[in-house]
C-alpha cells in the first residue's frame, strides 16, 4: 500500500472528513448548482399538473375553492368577523398568504425523506432542494395573487371601493419573510425527522392548528380576539399574524393607521433566529443522513 507520500502542492479541491463546520454554507457551491435549482423548479411545476385536464388552471382554482368553503362555513354559517371586507376577498387574501407559508414548510420538512434515494446516490448541495421548493411556491404565489387582483377589480366594478394602499409595497418583503420562515421551520423539522420520524406526524397537524390561531380566520380586531385575552396573546405570538394582517391592510386598502410595526419586528426577529437554527441543523444532518434515514 502506498504510504504517506508528499504530494506536490497541497491545494486540494475537495476534502472529505468527519469534522466539518456545520456553519459553512458554501454559497459558492450553491451558485455553481443554480441550473439544478431552476431545473428542479421546472420539474415541480411541470410535474404537478401532468395528466390533468385543467392543468395550470388548478393554481387559480385551489385558493378560490378554499375561499368559497371558508366564506360559507366561517362567514355565512359561523358569522365570524371579516373586518368589514367582502368575505371572499378577506378569506382569499389570507389563504394565499397562508398556503404559501404552509406549503414551504410542509414540503421542505419532508426534504430528506422524499429524496433519500436521490441523496443516497449523488452529491449536490442538499439545500438546493428546499430552495427549489420555496422558489416554486413563490411563482405559484404570484400567480394566485393575480386571482386576488381579478376579484378586487370585480368588486370595484360592482361599486365597492377597494384600492390597495402604499403598504401593499411591503408585499415582496413579506414574501421573502414568509419564505425564510417556511424554510427555517422546514429545514429544522426535516433535520429532526431523518432519524426519528415522530415529528413527521405532527407537522400537518401543527400547521393546521397554527392556522386556527392566526388572522386567516380571526382578524386581530374581531370580537373573538378582542374579548379573549389568552386567545389574543397566542395570536400575537404566532409569527405569521403580522404578515397576514399587513398583507390585508395593504392589498385591501384598509383605512386608518398602520399599527403593526412592532408585531412585524417580532416576526422578523423570530424568522432570523429560526432560520439560523434551521440551517445549522440542516447542515449538520445532511452530511451523514444517508446512514440514518
Amino acid at each position: 500500500m502506498d504510504s504517506k507520500q508528499i504530494s506536490e502542492g497541497e491545494n486540494w479541491d475537495i476534502v472529505i472528513r468527519a469534522e466539518k463546520s456545520p456553519f459553512a454554507l458554501r454559497l459558492q457551491e450553491i451558485w455553481r448548482y443554480r441550473d439544478l435549482l431552476t431545473l428542479f423548479v421546472k420539474r415541480d411545476f411541470v410535474a404537478t399538473y401532468k395528466q390533468t385536464v385543467l392543468g395550470p388552471l388548478w393554481f387559480f382554482l385551489q385558493p378560490v375553492l378554499t375561499a368559497i368553503v371558508y366564506s360559507v362555513v366561517f362567514g355565512f354559517i359561523a358569522r365570524l368577523s371579516t373586518s368589514g371586507y367582502p368575505r371572499i376577498l378577506f378569506y382569499l387574501s389570507g389563504i394565499i398568504g397562508w398556503s404559501y407559508f404552509a406549503d414551504c414548510l410542509t414540503k421542505t420538512s419532508a426534504t430528506f425523506l422524499t429524496n433519500q434515494n436521490l441523496f443516497g446516490k449523488v452529491y449536490f448541495p442538499r439545500i438546493i432542494l428546499p430552495l427549489s421548493v420555496v422558489t416554486t411556491n413563490m411563482i405559484r404565489f404570484v400567480i394566485q395573487l393575480t386571482v386576488l387582483a381579478i376579484f378586487i377589480v370585480y368588486y370595484n366594478i360592482t361599486g365597492l371601493k377597494i384600492i390597495p394602499n402604499e403598504y401593499a409595497l411591503l408585499l415582496p418583503f413579506l414574501l421573502v419573510l414568509m419564505a425564510c420562515m417556511g424554510l427555517g421551520f422546514g429545514t429544522l423539522i426535516s433535520s429532526v425527522t431523518t432519524k426519528y420520524r415522530d415529528f413527521q406526524f405532527l407537522v400537518a397537524f401543527g400547521v393546521t392548528l397554527l392556522m386556527y390561531f392566526s388572522p386567516v380566520l380571526f382578524p386581530l380586531d374581531s370580537p373573538q380576539v378582542q374579548n379573549n385575552e389568552t386567545f389574543r396573546t397566542i395570536l400575537l405570538l404566532n409569527p405569521m399574524s403580522a404578515i397576514i394582517e399587513t398583507m390585508r391592510f395593504g392589498l385591501l386598502g384598509k383605512e386608518g393607521n398602520f399599527e403593526l410595526w412592532g408585531l412585524l419586528g417580532y416576526s422578523i426577529a423570530f424568522t432570523i433566529v429560526l432560520l439560523i437554527i434551521g440551517l445549522y441543523m440542516f447542515n449538520r444532518v445532511q452530511r451523514t443522513f444517508t446512514d440514518t434515514v
Binding site: 502506498d2 468527519a18 410535474a47 436521490l118 446516490k121 449523488v122 432519524k195
Partner: protein, 422 residues
C-alpha cells in the same frame, strides 16, 4: 511521477446495525452525554470487523477500517471484493454522499460519480426533460447539456421516445438514457459503480467501449464491478477489499486472481494434481481417482498434460461416458471434451482407466480447474467440481517482455510463415 489526484488516508466508517428506534435513541443520549463532558465517542472504541455471514456480538460494525490508498492522474483503478466488503461504502464516501467516521479523503479536480444510472429521473417528465434534469443533478450546467444533447440522444438510441414520459419507457431504455447522460459528463475523475450489469449485450459493449475511451483519454477512473472480465480489460491497477480493509493492491491480473481464489476459498496451496477421495459415487458406479501425470501442479506452458481418470462401472452401462470441463480463473469453460463424442468409447463393466492429453502450447498462463462429469444418455449423473487444479507458468525466456501475461483465453502456438518478401 504523475500527480496524485485522490488521496485516501485511514478512512473508517462505522455503521449501527439493526433498527432505529428507542434503542438507538439511548445510544444517541450516551454519545451526546460523552460529548458534553468532552470525552470521545464511546461507540468508536467498539465495533467489529464486518463479516456478513457471521453473527456478531456488537451492534456496531466497521464497514471500512483504516483504508488508505492513492490514485494518480490517468489511472484506472478497479475496486473488487465480495458483497459487503465495503466497496459501495468506499464509493459513497468518495462521491460525498456520506462522510467517513474517521480519516479523510482529498481530491483534486472535478468529480462525477455514477452510483446509479438515471438518478433523479422523474417518471412524469419526458425523456428530453429528464436528460436536462439528470445532467444537472450529475453536475452539468444547462449550457453544457444543450451542447451535447444530440450526442446524448444518439448514444442512447431512444430518439423516437425522447418526448414521451419516462414512465412509459422499458427499464432497458431508461438505463440507456441514463448512461448516455452520464457518459457525456466531462469530469476529471469518474467514479463508476457496477453499471454494466444492466442493459443488453449490445449496450453493455457500447458502455465498455465508452469507458475505455474515457480511460484512454487520460482521465482518472475508479471502477467497481463484479465483472472480472471488465476489470481486467479496463483497469491499470486494482484493489481488493475484504471485510472493510484492503487485502491486496497492485497489478490488475494478480489482484483479480486473488479475488477469484478467495471467492472459492482456494489458494495456491490447494492446487491438486491428484484426487482420490469421496463424492465420486454415481448411480451404477464410482469415480475412483483422477490424476495429472506430473508430481507438481505447477506446470510449464511447453509441456503437454497427461490426465488420467480411473473409474468402476458396476451395473450394465448404457451409453455412460466421461466428460471433462476445463475452467479458467474467471469461471469460463475453456473447453469441454467427452469420451463418447471424440473416441466413441463406451465404458464397459468393471474397472477402467481413461487417459486424455491436453496438448502443450494451448493454454494461456493462469490457474485452471478440471470438472468431471459422468454422462448417461446426455444427462449428467455425477458432477465433481475442482477435481484437479493446476497452474500454468510462463517459462523464462530470453525476452523479458514475455513474462507478462498475454491476452486471450487460450494461447496456442500457431505456425507463422513468411510467404513472400520483397
Amino acid at each position: 511521477m504523475s500527480k496524485t489526484v485522490i488521496q485516501v488516508s485511514n478512512v473508517s466508517k462505522q455503521y449501527r446495525l439493526g433498527k432505529i428506534g428507542s434503542g438507538s435513541f439511548n445510544d444517541d443520549l450516551t454519545r451526546w452525554w460523552a460529548k458534553l463532558r468532552g470525552k470521545e465517542d464511546p461507540f468508536l472504541k467498539i465495533g467489529e470487523v464486518n463479516e456478513r455471514d457471521k453473527k456478531g456480538q456488537s451492534d456496531y460494525i466497521w464497514a471500512l477500517r483504516d483504508v488508505s490508498f492513492e490514485v494518480v492522474e490517468g489511472e484506472v483503478l478497479g475496486i473488487i471484493g465480495k458483497n459487503g466488503s465495503g466497496k459501495s461504502t468506499l464509493l459513497k464516501i468518495l462521491s460525498q454522499v456520506t462522510l467517513p467516521t474517521l480519516g479523510e479523503v482529498k481530491i483534486k479536480g472535478r468529480v462525477a460519480s455514477l452510483l446509479e444510472v438515471g438518478t433523479g429521473f422523474h417518471p412524469d417528465l419526458s425523456g428530453r426533460e429528464n436528460v436536462f434534469l439528470n445532467g444537472a443533478i450529475l453536475g452539468m450546467s444547462k449550457k453544457e447539456i444543450r451542447s451535447k444533447f444530440d450526442e446524448i440522444v444518439d448514444f442512447s438510441g431512444v430518439e423516437r421516445y425522447i418526448d414521451t414520459p419516462v414512465k412509459r419507457y422499458s427499464s432497458g431504455m431508461k438505463v440507456r438514457l441514463g448512461f448516455a447522460v452520464a457518459a457525456h459528463l466531462d469530469p476529471e475523475i469518474l467514479i463508476v459503480d457496477e453499471v454494466l450489469a444492466v442493459g443488453d449485450a449490445e449496450f453493455q459493449s457500447k458502455c465498455l467501449g465508452k469507458m475505455k475511451n474515457v480511460a484512454g483519454s487520460g482521465r482518472t477512473v475508479l471502477f467497481v464491478s463484479h465483472n472480472i472480465y471488465a476489470i481486467r480489460t479496463l483497469c491499470t491497477r486494482a484493489i481488493l477489499l475484504e471485510n472493510g480493509s484492503i487485502k491486496m493492491s497492485g497489478d490488475t491480473d494478480e489482484v483479480a486472481n486473488a479475488y477469484v481464489f478467495s471467492n472459492r476459498n482456494l489458494n495456491e496451496d490447494k492446487l491438486v494434481h491428484a484426487w482420490k477421495e469421496g463424492h465420486g459415487r454415481f448411480e451404477g458406479g464410482e469415480l475412483l481417482e483422477a490424476k495429472l501425470e506430473s508430481p507438481d501442479p505447477v506446470l510449464s506452458k511447453k509441456t503437454a498434460l497427461n490426465c488420467s481418470v480411473t473409474l468402476i462401472i458396476e451395473n450394465d452401462p448404457e451409453m455412460v461416458g466421461l466428460t471433462m470441463h476445463l475452467l479458467n480463473e474467471d469461471d469460463l469453460v475453456v473447453f469441454a471434451s467427452t469420451s463418447l463424442e471424440d473416441l466413441g468409447i463406451r465404458l464397459a463393466q468393471g474397472r477402467s482407466r481413461l487417459e486424455v492429453i491436453i496438448p502443450s502450447d494451448l493454454l494461456n498462463t493462469g490457474t485452471y480447474r478440471i470438472r468431471l462429469m459422468m454422462v448417461r444418455k446426455n444427462r449428467a449423473i455425477l458432477r465433481a467440481d475442482d477435481v484437479l487444479i493446476f497452474t500454468i507458468n510462463e517459462i523464462a525466456e530470453k525476452d523479458e517482455r514475455l513474462f507478462q501475461k498475454k491476452k486471450g483465453i487460450v494461447r496456442p502456438a500457431l505456425k507463422w510463415s513468411l510467404t513472400s518478401a520483397e
